[in-house]
Subunit: 192 residues, 2 copies
């Protein structure tokens, strides 16, 4: 029992890892813990739009654990270019440390979910990636492009980065976003 | 698709609903969105300690939706006494409004999870309640009783409020907490 408690208190640190997007109507930046909750809810709500048949419970499990490595590494803007491999190696070391706080079967189960997400090969992992990529875009679309403008991110860079994973995991969501991103470009909500 | 997007943006407001506990090492108060993520992780980690056989996926579903009514009502300290029925009626009206943003089958599924949690009768709901009640206690035990001291909450009041649901849903967790709460009393971490 003590190992489970140590683990859950270690997870508390994810509440202090800030992202680049602000929650709607709030001045502060979003943190990775509340983001993880929101994308689990988005995945549940969107499940019947997935590109293939999926086990939604595994998707939710992946989304709940996928950012935990940021406890050691911090968040990186998805549009950052370069340094991706080093970053992924650091996140793997982090989740091994953190999931290793738990007794073996549960720690191994979380690590398997984390790896499945990272590898992105199963229909569940592809759907989970689509949801994870879409959420900050939805917030930016509701926020006049706040994080795109603050970070100098262009329409082209957003589309290049998110179109492939969202199309692959949830085609109906990409169809919706493509039109909205076009409107956002016309409104001048991008940063470059 | 637009209805799902409207729903998920409405959920963003839960990030602005503050609770009485502070995340470890942070000055601000915890919000109900990040709390919902953390208890989903605690439930997963503790599942094999549940008092009865449970479907952990339904537990996680309940924990992800159980606080959504607070978007309209705000959070209330669990040790508040009185006003409980009015509060629950207001939360029901809130979740009907919010889940009603979604297309019918998904909105109804979330409402069913929310009601199952509130009714607290299934083994899954009892386990979910145990986890939800335990999390702020674990943070207080790691925080020298921060929210107990700030709100004048006594050891007796904590035990009276949390012992029955935690014993019912996760006896091993109660056994652990009972001893830790006793130590905390000796250290003077309660507020009255």
């Amino acid at each position: 029992m003590q190992r489970i408690i140590d683990f859950i208190l270690e997870l508390d640190k994810l509440k202090g890892v800030t992202r680049k997007t602000r929650p709607l109507g709030l001045e502060r930046y979003e943190n990775s813990a509340e983001h993880s909750w929101q994308i689990a809810m988005l995945a549940s709500s969107l499940a019947h739009h997935a590109g293939s048949a999926i086990d939604i419970h595994r998707v939710i499990g992946m989304l709940l654990v996928h950012d935990i490595g940021e406890i050691d590494t911090g968040d990186t803007l998805v549009y950052a270019e370069g340094g991706w491999e080093e970053r992924k190696a650091a996140e793997l070391a982090a989740v091994k440390r953190i999931f290793g706080l738990l007794p073996e079967p549960q720690g191994a189960a979380f690590l398997a979910l984390w790896r499945e997400f990272e590898q992105g090969e199963t229909p569940e992992a592809r759907f989970a990636h689509a949801v994870d990529r879409a959420m900050p875009v939805l917030l930016n679309l509701a926020n006049e492009g706040q994080s795109w403008r603050e970070n100098g991110v262009s329409h082209e860079r957003v589309v290049r980065r998110i179109a492939p994973p969202i199309k692959a995991g949830c085609p109906a969501l990409w169809e919706y976003l493509e039109a909205r991103l076009d409107e956002a470009r016309q409104k001048g909500w991008f940063g470059a």
